[in-house]
Structure formats: C-alpha cells, structure tokens
C-alpha cells in the first residue's frame, strides 16, 4: 500500500470521527440552546449538563430495529441514508482547518464541495421516493426544487469571490484574507462594495441548502409528519440526522473560509485552528438561534425569495464586482 492511500484512509477516518463527534454534540448543543431560549434547561439528566445524552441517544438508535416498509424500494431505501452521510464526510477532506491541517488541498476544492452538496439532495429524493410514502414523496419533491433554486444564488456569490481571489482552492481563498478582519471578504472594499449583502445571501442559502429552519420544508413536521424520513427508524434515521449536522458544519466552514478569513485571527495575530473552530461554532450557534426563533416559510415563499430576491441581487453584485475589478 502506498503512502498516499494510507494518508487518504487516515484522513477519511479522522473526517468521519470529526463529523460523528460534531453531529452528536451539536444535537446536544442545539437541544440545550433551544432549551435556554425557551427558558427550560434542556437535557440535563444524563451526566453533568446532560453531556452523556448523545451517547444515550446513539445507543437507543442503534438498538432499534430497522424497519423497511412494505412496498418500499429496498435498495434505494437502504442507500439513501448512506448517501446522506457519505458526501458530507467526503467534503471534510478538502476543508482546510488551518494553514497545515487539511487532508487534501485541491485546486477545485470549492467545486468539489458543491458537487458533494448536490449529492445530499439526491439522498433526500431517494429517501422520500423509495419509502413509498405520500408525505415522503411530497417532501422530496420540495427538497429538490429547493436545492436547485438555492444553489444558483450560492454559486453566483461564490463566483464573485473566486473572481476577486483568482483561485478555487479553499486554502488560497483563506490565505488571501490573512491579516486583520479588515482584510476579510465580508468587509466591503472599493472593488466589492456589496460584500455584506453577498454574505447575507450566502448565509441564507446555506441555511436552505442544509435544510435548516426556516427552510426545513423537506421535513416540515407539522405538515408532512417528518417529511422524507417519515419511514426511517433506527440508524437509518440516525444517519440522516448526522448527515444534517455534518452538512451544517461544512456550511459554516465554507462561510468562514469564503467570508470570515478562515483561520485568521480578527486582529491579525496568531492565526490558528482555534480561530477557525471558534468562527464555525459561532456560526452554528446562529443557525440554532435562527431555527428556534422563526416559523417556517412556505414552498412558494421560499422559491420567490430565491428567484425574485436572492438571484437578481447576487447577479447584480457579480456584474458590479466584475466591472469594478476592471476599474481598480
């Protein structure tokens, strides 16, 4: 076995470990956070501060029977949860956590992450379709139309940034923002005056891409029961759940790298992995905070938002930036 293969395997194992740990403790953090927002303690019985709750949940999910509904497409039904989790883990491979901590630095890192993100919506389609549940089918159709309409403004925004930096390598993107926070992409410069708006668009799109409230139409529990994973129990459901949180981590990492200077310290001192983790967890906290504040949008409200507001503005921003880059 060559060294590169071994390296890759180690990288994947670490990525899986990181994703699983994050998924487990983000659930805990979400429940504690939601509890505090609603002025109740949240899980607090298992271990100190309820820190062992994820273990209990995991044990429960794993010991449950895996049910396949009659009439379901068995192969697809089994593949879908794996398909939800695997691309998320693969995306971790190319994310640079700091100047040195990166499994595989790729020149097309941004593209790769978006390619894997699209696979995620496929898993939702498979899950909804194969479980032969009307709610599931409706949810998966929703999720796919949502994914299509939100990838457009997201990618346009990314193109704007790639244009400014001249690279698709995530490492280069982060390095180009080194220094204090005044170098970050979120801060408007002469060449890109609308960057805060871009940031907002990207943020909203990543909420939608990760199926987080207020855009969680795929699972919309008060309408579609549990949406695409209505028929899933046991670890099948567990994988969807972990995949969702892994996607959130990736979304937060992308925002951090594209807009918030990656692993750079806001004051230009000691750039390190600590700053990177701090930024992504602050972003995730905002995700959680948003989820527990707002009601859900409607499917047409969501499409209207994308096609009538986000896409025109991001297109305008793209043209503006392209023009200004020529001038300055």
């Amino acid at each position: 076995m060559s060294l590169t293969v071994l390296n890759a395997i180690i990288a994947v194992v670490i990525a899986i470990g990181f994703a699983a740990l994050n998924a487990a403790y983000l659930v805990w953090a979400e429940r504690r956070g939601a509890g505090r927002i609603q002025r109740r303690p949240g899980p607090n019985v298992n271990g100190p501060l309820g820190l062992l709750q994820p273990l209990a949940d995991g044990a429960k999910l794993m010991t449950k029977q895996l049910m396949i509904p009659g009439g379901a497409d068995k192969a697809l039904f089994m593949v879908a949860p794996v398909l939800a989790m695997a691309p998320a883990i693969m995306s971790f491979v190319t994310i640079p956590f700091s100047d040195v901590i990166v499994a595989k630095s790729m020149d097309v890192g941004v593209l790769m992450i978006f390619a894997f993100a699209s696979l995620g919506s496929m898993s939702i389609l498979f899950a909804g379709w194969s479980s032969r549940n009307k709610y599931g089918v409706m949810a998966s159709v929703r999720a796919v139309s949502q994914a299509i309409s939100y990838e457009v403004p997201m990618l346009i925004t990314v193109i704007t940034i790639v244009m400014m930096t001249g690279s698709m390598n995530l490492h280069d993107l982060a390095v180009s923002q080194a220094g204090g926070f005044w170098h970050w992409n979120i801060i408007p410069s002469l060449a890109s005056p609308l960057m805060p708006v871009s940031f907002l668009i990207f943020f909203i799109c990543s909420l939608a891409e990760t199926n987080r409230a207020p855009f969680d139409l795929g699972e919309a529990e008060s309408e579609l029961v549990a949406g695409f994973h209505t028929e899933y129990g046991s670890m099948g459901f567990g994988l969807f759940f972990m995949g969702e949180y892994a996607n959130i981590v990736i979304g937060a990492s992308l925002i951090t790298i594209l807009f918030l200077g990656g692993w750079g310290c806001p004051f230009g001192l000691f750039p390190s992995v600590f700053w990177f983790l701090l930024k992504i967890y602050l972003l995730i906290a905002t995700f959680i905070w948003i989820r527990w504040t707002f009601p859900r949008t409607t499917i047409y409200g969501l499409l209207n938002l994308s096609w009538k507001i986000l896409i025109p503005i991001s297109l305008f921003n793209l043209l503006l930036t392209a023009g200004l880059l020529k001038v300055f």
Partner: protein
C-alpha cells in the same frame, strides 16, 4: 423598485427584532421545575381523589348515608355498612342504640371525574380531597382505592 427594497429591509428588520427577543430570553433564568427531583406543593383547594376524614378518635366521620354514592355522576364510589348496637348513658340509664358503621368504602379512581359532587353533597364533612397527584401506574387495579384501608394506614 422602492417598494421592493423597502419590503426586503422591513423583512430583515422584523427578523432582527425577533432574534433580539430570543437572545434576551436566552439569558433569563429557567422557569421549569425538574419534576421528579423537585415537586410543587399543591394549593389548599387542589382536588385529588377523595379521602375519608377522621374524627377525634381516629374513626371515619362517615355515617354511611350514601349521599356521595348517589351524587356521583360516574358511579365510582361504592360503600357498605352494617348496623352495630352500642350503649349510651342517657338520663342515668344505659340504653342500647343502633347505628350504621362503615365497613367498606371503595373508590374506583379510573372513572372519577374529580367534579367534587360527593364532597359537596356530604352533610357531615366526612370526605375531603387529598393532595396526592403522583398517581401513575400501568395497572388498572392500582386505582381502586380502599379508603378505609388508607385511613388506617395513615393513622398507624
């Protein structure tokens, strides 16, 4: 065009206000009670299931008139009594008199609707609401209370 942007702006503003509220609530103290670890004291008028009231001698005040049984909408009270002779001193001489003594007072709590008709209809103040609310079981029989037995257990 103006309306388009002003709507976006107002929308974002309303979202920010909402997030401000949940942010403030986040730092306020918790209001819930961790139930099995902490419990609340029931108010004085709390209506639990009924309980027999005892007199000074520790005997039930109940005279087995059966008013509660008749008033009950769901028929969840069943009581039985027997006549016993007892002697009283009256004007210097001993007389034997008969009175009804309660021998059985069963409450089927599964059908009780806690309306309070029985307590209201009791002219002797012989039944009252308990303050017990930790009642949970998966067996029906656990809610068939023998109130006489419970009274004895309370006294012992």
């Amino acid at each position: 065009m103006g309306a388009y942007f002003s709507e976006i702006f107002r929308g974002l503003q309303s979202l920010a206000i909402g997030m401000g509220i949940t942010f403030r609530e986040f730092f306020k103290p918790v209001v819930t009670v961790s139930y099995p670890m902490e419990t609340l004291k029931m108010s004085a008028r709390y209506r639990g299931h009924i309980e027999l009231v005892e007199d000074e001698k520790g005997q039930p005040k109940c005279v087995a008139c059966g008013m509660c049984q008749r008033a009950c909408p769901s028929g969840c009270i069943s009581l039985a009594s027997e006549s016993v002779e007892y002697e009283v001193e009256e004007k210097g001489e001993t007389k034997t008199k008969k009175k009804k003594v309660l021998t059985k007072y069963n409450l089927n709590f599964t059908t009780c609707s806690l309306c309070g008709q029985c307590v209201e209809n009791c002219s002797f103040g012989a039944i009252d609401f308990s303050k017990e609310y930790n009642l949970a079981s998966s067996r029906k029989e656990d809610f068939h209370f023998d109130l006489l037995q419970r009274l004895k257990e309370r006294n012992s």
